[in-house]
């Protein structure tokens, strides 16, 4: 039995692990990736002989990773997937929580007195005709392949989306030798007024802006066109790659019908991020809608405790707000977890981290408002009958529209799931929930929030039968 079990070794999970382990408690961390760092600090594999990757502009990452990896009270298991939270009988007055974990060696139950879900975020899915084709990939995929595997996915690249990460990624792609055909961004070029409103974000984040300026000047030097108010509306397969249709949109991001075509090997989608909340849902944590924060987030109190007893949450699942804020949330959660285990609350450390949290929040608030995706407009991109909405079960738009028309009482994503299987496949609805919710919202003239979220059940990620047998043993 460990004092704390953590899912996710990103900035939030690492900061929390250190705060708790520094008080003398034992911590176990599981992560599906090969090494600690999370999505933002993905680095080359250990077998290639380098301890560190490039963490610019986050100078604190190096020290965080080293302290995490070297701490005697922290055990970490990589290539290990947490696929469920189990609540056992309370023995000896102790909360008994277990993580069901699957790794290449089989299944295992990991028990801990407290759990922290620091599961991060994934690229926000936006369905359109052709989004399931080989060669269409997310910004996170392209970036992590460059950073951690030193692999350039293709030579001719079109980037489309709405998140500023596309500009940073374009810089990395140019460094790797890619030819960028065009960068399409859904929103307008920010005007002076909007820029002025963004000024509070600057103090303490100069290095992030420097990084963005560095990427922009590289883009300009290479003469890469950036087109604002443009979205990708279709991809079709060609013998030599993809044909990508880019469409001009109005200020509300709805298509104007005016479009142009490009040929490319790779189409990169980057609309922002969606919090990974399936474990929290399965564990019974209450959720909260926060569109600017990425959609459904995990409800928590000031100590980062969720509504499920003894389960805490930190980082992107509380709302996508970047690496700095994930670190601060993880650290604060760790301090309160240690206190709940019997340590004295470290007031000085808490006020230090709270200041960091507030400073990081000023930055993320501005980013969130400036780049909040217009969800209902983006959902219109998959309006054609045959467009695949649920990638796994290959449920098409027509089936969802029919279900809504034939069943006037359907109001929720869970009801649509039962009716037409969208969200029942291997990704467990992570890639269709948003589009289905927007469709319901549209048909019933309700908010996206009103259609709710898919329930999650164990296993939240499919595992082999043998893994079940392993965890069923006592």
């Amino acid at each position: 039995m460990h004092d704390l079990g953590i899912v996710g070794a990103g900035p939030a999970g690492m900061a929390a692990a250190l705060a708790v382990a520094d008080m003398g408690f034992s911590v176990i961390v599981v992560d599906e990736q090969a090494r600690a760092g999370g999505q933002i600090f993905r680095r080359p594999p250990e077998a290639w002989g380098e301890r560190h990757g490039v963490y610019r502009p986050y100078a604190w990452a190096r020290d965080l990773i080293e302290r995490f990896e070297d701490h005697p009270k922290i055990t970490a298991a990589f290539r290990a997937t947490a696929f469920g939270v189990l609540r056992g009988n309370d023995k000896d007055d102790r909360a008994s929580l277990e993580l069901a974990v699957s790794s290449p060696d089989g299944g295992q139950r990991v028990s801990a007195r407290r759990l922290l879900l620091a599961t991060g975020a994934y690229d926000m899915p936006v369905a359109f005709p052709g989004w399931t084709l080989p060669g269409v990939m997310t910004a996170g995929a392209i970036q992590s392949l460059i950073k951690s595997q030193k692999l350039l996915s293709g030579k001719r690249v079109v980037l489309a989306g709405s998140h500023p990460i596309q500009l940073i990624l374009a810089g990395q792609l140019l460094d790797a030798g890619a030819d960028i055909v065009e960068i399409a961004l859904a929103r307008d070029l920010p005007g002076l007024k909007e820029m002025a409103r963004g000024l509070p974000a600057v103090p303490g984040h100069v290095s992030i802006f420097t990084e963005a300026v560095r990427a922009l000047s590289k883009i300009m030097r290479h003469g890469v066109p950036i087109r604002w108010r443009t979205v990708v509306s279709e991809a079709t397969p060609e013998d030599t790659g993809l044909r990508v249709r880019l469409e001009t949109v109005d200020p509300s991001w709805l298509g104007t019908g005016e479009s142009h075509l490009h040929e490319a090997d790779i189409l990169v989608l980057g609309y922002g991020f969606t919090p990974s909340t399936e474990l929290a849902r399965q564990a019974g944590c209450e959720m909260k809608w926060d569109s600017a924060g990425g959609g459904w987030t995990v409800l928590h109190d000031a100590r980062f405790q969720s509504t499920a007893p003894d389960i805490f949450v930190a980082g992107e699942p509380t709302g996508v707000a970047g690496a700095e804020r994930a670190w601060a949330e993880g650290h604060i959660a760790g301090l309160f977890i240690a206190a709940s285990l019997g340590a004295k609350l470290d007031d000085r450390a808490l006020s230090h981290s709270t200041r960091r949290l507030i400073r990081a929040g000023r930055f993320s608030d501005v980013m969130q408002t400036m780049f909040e995706p217009k969800r209902k407009a983006l959902a219109e991109l998959s309006r054609q009958d045959e467009t695949v909405i649920c990638r796994c079960e290959e449920v098409r738009n027509r089936q969802i529209e029919d279900a809504l028309q034939n069943n006037p009482f359907i109001q929720s994503v869970n009801a649509v799931k039962l009716e037409c299987r969208s969200g029942m496949g291997v990704c467990q609805g992570r890639y269709c929930e948003g589009t289905v919710a927007a469709r319901i919202g549209n048909a019933r003239e309700a908010s996206i929030e009103a259609s709710g979220y898919y329930n999650a059940h164990l296993p939240v990620k499919p595992v082999a039968l043998q893994v079940y047998r392993d965890i069923s043993k006592d």
Binding site: E32, Q33, A34, Q39, P44, P45, E46, A47, W48, G49, E50, R79, T81, P104, Y122, D123, T132, P134, G135, V136, M137, T138, G140, A141, I142, S144, L145, I146, Q149, K150, L151, L152, S153, G154, K155, A176, G177, T240, G241, D265, I266, S276, R391, C392, E394, G425, V426, C427, R430, Y431, K461, P462, A464
Partner: protein, 94 residues
């Protein structure tokens, strides 16, 4: 079709595994996804509807990179490290 390209790096030692019975060379520390992308594989799996699929997220959330590894189905290639002698097959009807 596109082919991914390995960038300059100090990779691990070279090793061999098979995809659909054909030998693929990869480097210690690479994932199955990286090795297959670099080898120019054009379908990691085929959906029940007959559509080819390839890695989409590279972070374990979409399952579009699913392959069969040593007889186990639905293994995410983006989270699986290559090893010598591994037998990888296309997943049919994900």
């Amino acid at each position: 079709m596109f082919k991914a390209q390995r960038l300059k790096a100090n990779r691990g030692r070279a090793l061999q595994f098979t995809f659909e019975g054909t030998t693929v060379t990869a480097y210690d520390g690479e994932t199955v996804a990286t090795a297959l992308l670099a080898a120019g594989v054009t379908a990691f799996n085929v959906t029940r509807g007959g559509e080819p699929r390839m890695p989409f997220c590279n972070m374990g959330t979409c399952f579009d990179c699913a392959v069969c590894v040593n007889g186990h189905s639905l293994v995410r290639a983006c989270l699986t490290d290559v090893s010598s002698g591994m037998q990888v097959n296309r997943q049919e009807g994900k």
